[in-house]
Chain length 230, copies 2
């Protein structure tokens, strides 16, 4: 009986990818910053344990992941908040916080952080129309009509961070990047707002009809287990 259980366990382990049988390429879509900071180290960890598994990554926004999933070019994608096609299965996994930050020497020294205070600052934003700044102010100040002076737009988290660090203005970056920069001794300040961080949900997404290879489903299970916090 012990032998039977042992064999059963071995069979299960093998199916789960715990054995040495995993091989082949797994194609994954990722949001740029969350992917680089949090997912790639996990994939390296997995890849070091499974030397015959390779990865093809596509970094980008959820809108492009939507199309790549529909075209069958990805085994699965990790995406942030975005309405994907109904043929795509989506499961919430985690979230990142979005933090308005500024180089500390650019922070006005006093005054309540109200509408007037924020309208005196300079900003950097991802794109025209200030969608992310608007979200932040709607969440934290219940304000939707601030008149913000945006000095630069760049659709790239690292670019926003670089503008903030070089002092051009305040900008919104994910909490995990803020923490990383603080660890690297950059002197930046996070506006507390209402005290409850704005969140950007992170989900896993794949075509409902897609059959995953053993390698792909094992990587997917591994990432879900490692990333899940909701």
């Amino acid at each position: 009986c012990v032998q039977i259980l042992f064999n059963l366990e071995q069979a299960l382990t093998s199916v789960k990818g715990g054995g040495k049988k995993l091989f082949g390429n797994v194609s994954i879509g990722l949001p740029i910053e969350f992917g680089n900071n949090l997912v790639i180290p996990l994939l390296s960890h997995f890849g070091l344990k499974h030397p015959d598994v390779t990865f093809s990554l596509q970094l980008g926004f959820a809108s492009s992941m939507n199309n790549l999933l529909l075209k069958g070019e990805l085994d699965f994608a990790i995406v942030d908040e975005y309405k994907l096609d109904s043929r795509i299965y989506v499961e919430k996994l985690s979230y990142e916080t979005l933090e308005l930050s500024i180089r500390r020497d650019k922070l006005p020294s006093r005054g309540p952080q109200n509408k007037k205070f924020f309208e005196l600052l300079d900003y950097v934003e991802y794109e025209k129309g200030q969608p992310i700044l608007k979200m932040w102010f709607a969440h934290h100040l219940k304000q939707t009509s601030l008149d913000l002076k945006v000095r630069a737009t760049v659709m790239d988290v690292q670019g926003i961070a670089k503008f903030v660090l070089s002092g051009l203005g305040a900008g919104i970056i994910p909490g995990h990047l803020f923490e990383k920069l603080v660890k690297e001794n950059y002197d930046i300040y996070r506006f507390p707002g209402c005290g409850k961080s704005l969140r950007n949900s992170i989900s896993v997404a794949y075509l409902k009809e897609r059959t995953h290879s053993l390698a792909a489903s094992t990587v997917l299970d591994f990432l879900k287990k490692e990333l899940i916090i909701v």
Copy 2:
């Protein structure tokens, strides 16, 4: 006469943008990593001196810059090596080196760094077909037929760096990023190759027929002066 010279100088300064008359938006295309690391801090510096100038940046590969320039959506772009449309004026400014790097604990401890040595390593690359690794080996080893085991592809310098730092394989990153990582105390190794670094040229590009605003031409002159090393 002193007064005349003074007025003349003032007039020149004003034309050059040294005065306070600069205003308006400047739209610039940039290569992602070179842009984030080297150009954005310069733009912040400029922007802090000229509070009425704003920037719209597009980060991406030279191929997309080609199209954006032709559509008139950029005042100018900074691009790496790529054959642009003949209607675009291109002027070499600078270069970045491309360095094959590996986490030091993943470096085989001995052996001459020849074909056999390199074929035993794992790699990460930007895209299928290994174009950048091939360039590196052609330049340094005069080898074009290595059989390289590529564990992951990702079209993103930060992604390649993260795979290298988390130990999945050796990968090629720009010299300026390698130096930054070393400064941040990551223990990574740069393969010396033939001793003379592979270079990726950096040029400024704009539509020949485009008329630049005073702000755009002043930013362009400033960047050229700051970035030029060839």
